[in-house]
Amino acid sequence: MKLFDPTSKPVEHAVTLAPRPASPKGLRLGLVDNTKFNSDTLLKKLAERLARRHQMTVTVTNRKRSPSHEVDGAGIAALRKQADLVISGIGD
């Protein structure tokens, strides 16, 4: 008799991380709003605080179709091109 493993591991893809910024000062900020209630409000306040502290500028904002959907390809491309740092949120 033997056990049959019913589980699967996640499919692996090679991922290259973006270079880490040396300093937070003056970074271009991307916001990903998952459309949950108050997510836009929270992200806006975070962006204001980061602008005050580190002179960051919001350069791109992506509002997802829903919390259940991924950011689409065009959205990802815009974030990659226009942002040095991306904040996504929020949970329940």
Binding site: M1, L3, D5, P6, S8, S68, H69
Partner: protein
């Protein structure tokens, strides 16, 4: 396929599956090479085939893993085509798996089976259609949940973040009562042919039964459903959600006798499921103070008649039907998938329960 040597005693084997964390809390049927192969054969699958994927979660459902889980759930091989179609529905982009599978809302994956396969497998559509006692209902639904847990990482506390969950998360599968239906079956209403076999998947947070023993006309009967679907505690009151309504015998008779069409029922419910903005604000479902205008400003729960899925099942006796509100606004849509029955003998009918 990984293998681990274990004891030969059946009870010890079942315990070993518990120890690995591979069960849903109930004992599983330990698979064998033969039972897995039989499951794959009944669906015409090779073990390596990909049944579906959730790209954003780096998840693929491979046929041999689905077959192992189906055996563990207690399925007979001929149930496998239904399980496969249900998995394809889970992986359909329109279903947007991440939300309904992982939300704190804790949805059941409700499976409605239509067409010849339902009769072939003996899937219960009558008395106690949502309850216990019928092997295909219990094990097909269970197989789908085990596949979610074991191959899609949808485990409680990990990528299943249900606050409470609901008992339908163990298994929720039933057939439509097509032989005693006021209208065309659900799969036909959704574009398939009557002799197609199909499974419709909808994620639902809850099931509540709707009672009315006096209504002899559609309007008062349906007002009970409209009220049930627009209660202030409903999570989806603000988002133009889908819902499933299951009419059972006596209520279906009221609608049939009155000559109401499915579309009439849907239109009536779209119109009557609404609340004024003042109600939303009093219950803190919307921010702000109540204004005079709020008392006469209405918000509808449903956007389109077809967002109200209507099925028929249950016993002939009793004044009960059910509402199963869908999860999550427009964030997920129900999905109907045709079932490939070409690899099983469809000339038989029913099966041991």
């Amino acid at each position: 396929m990984s293998e681990i040597d274990q004891a030969t005693d059946a009870a010890a084997l079942i315990e070993a599956y518990y120890e690995q964390g591979w069960t849903d809390g109930l004992p599983v049927v330990p698979p064998s090479d033969a039972s897995i192969l039989a499951m794959l054969s009944a669906a015409g699958l090779a073990g390596h085939e990909v049944l579906g994927e959730i790209a954003g979660r780096n998840t693929e459902v491979i046929a041999d893993k689905a077959a192992i889980n189906a055996v563990m759930a207690g399925c007979r091989p001929e149930y496998m085509p239904v399980v496969v179609a249900a998995v394809k529905s889970l992986c359909a982009p329109a279903f947007a798996y991440h939300g309904p599978a992982s939300s704190t809302g804790g949805s059941a994956m409700v499976l409605i089976v239509n067409g010849p396969i339902a009769r072939r497998l003996g899937i219960n559509s009558g008395n106690n259609a949502f309850g216990q006692g019928h092997r295909p209902n219990a094990t097909i639904g269970r197989a789908v949940r085990l596949i979610m847990m074991n191959t899609m990482n949808t485990r409680p506390g990990f990528l299943d973040r249900a606050t409470l969950g609901n008992p339908g998360k163990y298994a929720f599968c039933f057939a439509e009562h097509e032989d005693d239906h006021p209208w065309e079956p659900l799969h036909v209403a959704r574009g398939l042919k009557a002799d197609d076999s199909a499974v419709t998947l909808i994620a639902s947070n809850s099931l509540y039964q709707v009672y009315n023993q006096l209504a002899a006309a559609p309007e008062p009967l349906l007002l009970c459903f409209a009220d049930a679907l627009s209660n202030m505690g409903s999570p989806n009151l603000k988002g133009f959600n889908e819902t499933l309504i299951v009419f059972a015998g006596e209520h279906a008779d009221v609608l049939r006798t009155a000559g109401w069409s499915r579309a009439q029922v849907q239109r009536f419910l779209v119109e009557r499921t609404k609340r004024c903005v003042a109600d939303y604000k009093r219950a803190a479902r919307m921010p702000g103070a109540v204004t005079e205008q709020d008392e006469t400003t209405w918000r509808h729960v449903f956007e389109r008649p077809e967002d109200i899925l209507i099925a028929c099942a249950g016993g002939r006796a009793g004044s009960w039907s059910a509402c199963l509100p869908g999860w999550g606004n427009k964030w997920t849509r129900s999905v109907t998938t045709r079932i490939d029955t070409t690899h099983i003998d469809m000339s038989q009918r029913g099966g041991p329960s």
